[in-house]
């Protein structure tokens, strides 16, 4: 479905909607009117896009993005791809669960791995990681926890269970606690091939 025709229809039907076609998809400039666009595409007789195939988030360093692939099961027509971009600092996108029940788990998955908050999602919890996990693993700036160096919490736990912790490790733990830092592994510079 070529994006120009879809863009034209949307502007005709919804009036002031900032749309920009990016490669083969349609960028909804302002995140807030995403539900309006999706609702129109779902109910309009010409489109009937009643099947949300996949909700994918990705991290482009200066913004976070969510891509929606919409299909119509009724008319068996091809994908209309919507795209929403939000700043990294406070990523908020209105949730589509009220329109498409299928987005429920996928939005939770994106929240868990990227930290994009989907407003209006009935039960926005982490789905892959355990509750106490901090950080969003799929972001490009995510640093893994360095498993070699011990933090003060680990040292206490080891000593409580009768394990003799070497002096150097204990000193490193105390120093980390004073600086208030977490033991994070630096990003191993992957040779770009």
């Amino acid at each position: 479905m070529d994006t120009e025709k879809v863009k034209a229809d949307l502007e005709k039907a919804l009036g002031p909607v900032a749309l920009k076609s990016v490669r083969s998809s349609l960028l909804v400039e302002n995140a807030q009117d995403l539900p309006k666009v999706a609702k129109f595409l779902k109910e309009d007789a010409a489109y009937r896009l009643d099947y949300l195939s996949s909700v994918t988030a990705s991290d482009f360093i200066d913004y976070l993005e969510t891509v929606y692939h919409l299909y119509s099961m009724e008319k068996k027509t091809g994908p209309v791809t919507l795209r929403v971009r939000v700043p990294r600092t406070d990523p908020k996108i209105p949730s589509l669960v009220s329109l498409y029940r299928g987005a429920e788990f996928q939005e939770r998955d994106n929240f868990d791995l990227f930290g994009i908050v989907y407003e209006g999602h009935p039960d926005l919890r982490r789905i892959m990681m355990w509750e106490g996990f901090e950080g969003f693993p799929m972001r490009k700036d995510y640093l893994q926890e360095d498993s070699e160096t011990l933090e003060s919490v680990d040292v206490e736990w080891l000593e409580k269970n009768g394990v003799k912790v070497p002096e150097a490790a204990k000193a490193k733990a105390v120093e980390l606690r004073q600086q208030g830092k977490r033991a994070l592994a630096e990003r191993r510079v992957e040779d770009k091939g």
Binding site: Y51, S54, T81, R101, G102, L113, I127, M138, G193
Partner: protein
């Protein structure tokens, strides 16, 4: 309508019986992997059921972002480890779409043959495990695995490994099918219907199976479409949506086959739609084996990259290709930034999304029903947790 016991009939106000909260899983004989269901039971009837997953989460998508395109092909085998060939096919299609590669005729036919053989394996294994959850003590599973062995031997002969095939490459396949192998595949394909008939006499009209499976876990077509359910689950509810027909990817439009649809969308329909789908796959395999053309199996542009996969740099852009894997729509969304490593790699896993409405199907049913509803949804945790 199979009258099941509704808690509402009996007035429990007088009795102050509390609800029993049971964790079914993650270590449980019939959750098909490390999958947990927080079930709240009123006697045997399920009042609420929250799925919990993530125990097998390896962050396959981040691993793929730190490796070259070809290096993450063996990892796609481990997504849904029951059908590695259709995972490979999905990934290969999305990268070929991204890089605009042409696949020679013979390679396309080989891919269709491999995908359909994987569909046979997956469906009989699923039916076998469903009967295991129903209590038939391993007999259907072992009949199914006896047939599965024959097909896995063929995979081992061709790709080198039974389940982790890593057989497809971008632009073609790794090794050609010798005439001897084609004969062996034809032998398996002709012997399969006889096994299917025997399997059906054992199961389809079995009164206990019918009593246990009919009108259990009913899924309405509207809810199925709205919840992005795909695969045999959707077609059992009567929605005619098969990606081999809709997208017509690879050389599927050249084959005549039908799409079976179920009338009611309960566990029995999902079981029987899978058996009918196997018969359709056998038709496709027959036609593919008869009309497979000769020719080379790798596109010219990709032969230099066989020796040095790290130098394969697709153009900047993104591509989303989807495949009708035996569990549903398996999509691969790949974003390239011109370097040999993908910028973003996302897998649209059918089992993960088919679980969205597990609770809706299980409310009001019994514990025994919840187990077979989960069995009929057919999840594999490698794909759910990625």
């Amino acid at each position: 309508m199979n009258k099941t016991f509704e808690a509402k009939d009996v007035n429990l106000a007088g009795i102050n019986s509390s609800l029993l909260e049971v964790n079914i899983g993650p270590q449980h004989p019939s959750t098909h992997g490390v999958f947990r269901m927080n079930a709240v039971l009123d006697g045997e009837v399920i009042v609420s059921l929250k799925p919990v997953m993530g125990y097998l989460h390896r962050n396959h998508e981040q691993i793929a972002e730190n490796m070259s395109y070809a290096a993450s092909m063996p990892y796609t085998d481990r997504l849904d480890y029951f059908n590695s060939m259709s995972n490979n096919l999905g990934y290969a299609l999305s990268v070929e779409k991204l890089a605009g590669l042409e696949v020679p005729e013979r390679a396309e036919y080989i891919r269709v043959i491999m995908a359909e053989l994987t569909r046979l394996i997956n469906h009989i294994a699923v039916i076998g495990f469903l009967l295991n959850d129903l209590g038939a003590f391993f007999t259907p599973v072992l009949y199914a695995f006896r047939e599965r062995e024959k097909i896995l031997d063929i995979f081992e002969e061709i790709s080198g490994s039974r389940m982790m095939c890593n057989y497809l490459r971008f632009g073609g396949v790794k090794r050609d099918l010798s005439p001897a192998i084609l004969e062996r595949i034809r032998g398996v394909v002709t012997a399969f219907p006889r096994f299917l008939d025997e399997f059906e006499t054992l199961l389809t009209k079995n009164e206990i199976l019918c009593m246990r499976c009919q009108n259990v876990g009913v899924l309405s077509p509207e809810l199925a479409i709205n919840a992005s359910i795909t695969g045999p689950l959707l077609r059992a509810s009567g929605v005619n949506y098969d990606i081999r027909k809709v997208d017509g990817y690879s050389v599927y439009p050249r084959f005549q086959f039908k799409v079976p649809l179920g009338p009611k969308g309960d566990v029995y329909d999902r079981y029987y739609v899978r058996i009918l789908e196997m018969r359709e796959s056998l038709k496709i395999l027959d036609q593919a084996l008869n009309t497979i053309p000769a020719g080379e199996i790798m596109s010219k542009k990709m032969i230099p990259f066989l020796k040095s996969p790290r130098n394969f740099k697709p153009p900047v852009g993104e591509a989303y290709a989807r495949v009708e894997s035996p569990k549903g729509e398996l999509g691969f969304y790949v974003v390239s930034d011109g370097t040999p490593q993908p910028w973003r790699y996302h897998v649209r896993a059918p089992s993960f999304i088919n679980l969205t409405i597990l609770e809706d199907m299980c409310l009001g049913q019994k514990v025994a029903d919840a187990i077979i509803i989960l069995g009929s949804v057919d999840i594999v945790l490698g794909e759910v947790d990625r």
